[in-house]
């Protein structure tokens, strides 16, 4: 278990500031979209809140699942690293806990997680991880000023355009996910 700087890789709960959908009131479409979004969504306050707009949730989940889980392209541990760096940069404690765990499961180590919790700007156990963390921070903090200089370090560590796009998607969708988690509710104690 890692606890540093207000971040943790423990399992957290999340509490909605809005009224989550009650399952008894759910339409067939809402149930269908909940089930295609996440295995535990019927008991998740987050998914039940988003289910108030089922078609918006459907397409969000399709994008999210394709970005984070599709085979090929950028290794999944590296997508999780990008997600974790963005979540720490945005101060999203809940998302950070989830994606720190995923990184640990996929990479079978936690050294990078400790580094990201301490200081994402210098995190990474090798050149490739450092290039991923640096790019994730740049996309998160200054999207209006990205340029060729932000792409060159990714090419230098051998990434193809398809891999760079995978990383860009993983990083960008956490600007979406963090904002929902941080603005529709808050993390609650360890579960």
């Amino acid at each position: 278990m890692i606890r540093r700087n207000g971040f943790t890789d423990e399992t957290l709960e999340w509490r909605s500031w809005l009224e989550p959908l009650q399952l008894a009131d759910a339409s067939p479409l809402q149930l269908e979209v909940l089930d295609e979004s996440h295995p535990q969504s019927r008991t998740s306050p987050y998914y039940l809140t988003l289910a108030h707009q089922p078609l918006m949730l459907r397409h969000r989940s399709a994008a999210y699942n394709a970005i984070m889980y599709a085979p090929g392209g950028l290794p999944r541990a590296e997508r999780e690293l990008g997600a974790m760096v963005v979540s720490v940069t945005n101060g999203c404690v809940y998302c950070t806990s989830v994606h720190a765990q995923r990184f640990e499961q996929l990479a079978k180590r936690s050294d990078t997680v400790e580094q990201v919790f301490d200081e994402p700007a210098t995190a990474g156990t090798n050149e490739r991880e450092r290039a991923i963390a640096t790019f994730a921070i740049a996309v998160t903090q200054r999207p209006g000023a990205l340029g060729a200089d932000d792409i060159a370090p990714l090419r230098a560590v051998g990434m193809s355009d398809e891999e760079i796009i995978d990383l860009l998607h993983a990083v960008a969708i956490f600007s979406w996910a963090n904002r929902l988690m941080q603005n529709l509710g808050e993390p609650a104690g360890a579960g």
Binding site: L18, L50, H52, A63, P143, I165
Partner: protein
């Protein structure tokens, strides 16, 4: 359904056309391309009580301008000039929506319960607040994908090898 190979909103904002290597590289993740465009369409056009398409477009223009996403701002401005929404009057809740959108766009850490209460006080029900939050959060994703693709273009993307 439109063909996934046709230029979508992100292609146009990033300056990609069919035949470009980077346009082809994006299609390596055809599901992402399709779900992103479908999100854009649903977020703007799904009927939501208390949240008109015109006001959603006004929010989108404000978010893109706030974030410096100029080409994407032009897309939403053009949509706002469409006949179907051009004359739709803004809701009394629009100032509260724009305030929420700008805060959420510039610093997600500043979100708190009071911001949602302000939207409720302005007359938005919870399903409308979910729709507004999804729209603004989606725009933070969309404008970063566009910015990243523009940076790849500037760096002379090789595309599929």
């Amino acid at each position: 359904m439109t063909s996934p190979d046709l230029p979508d909103v992100i292609d146009r904002a990033a300056g990609l056309a069919p035949g470009d290597a980077l346009h082809a590289a994006r299609r390596f993740r055809a599901k992402v391309v399709e779900a992103t465009q479908a999100s854009h369409d649903a977020l703007l056009t799904q009927p939501v009580e208390g949240l008109s398409t015109a006001d959603r477009l006004r929010v989108a223009v404000h978010v893109c301008n706030t974030a410096g996403a100029t080409t994407l701002a032009k897309h939403y401005e053009a949509r706002l000039r469409d006949d179907a929404v051009r004359d739709a009057p803004p809701s009394a809740a629009l100032p509260a929506m724009l305030h929420f959108a700008a805060t959420l766009t510039t610093d997600p850490r500043r979100g708190d319960r009071a911001a949602l209460e302000a939207l409720r006080h302005a007359g938005l029900a919870d399903p409308a607040i979910v729709a507004l939050a999804q729209l603004v959060a989606f725009l933070s994703y969309q404008l970063r994908v566009v910015a990243g693709l523009q940076a790849m273009r500037a760096s002379g993307a090789k595309g599929t090898s």
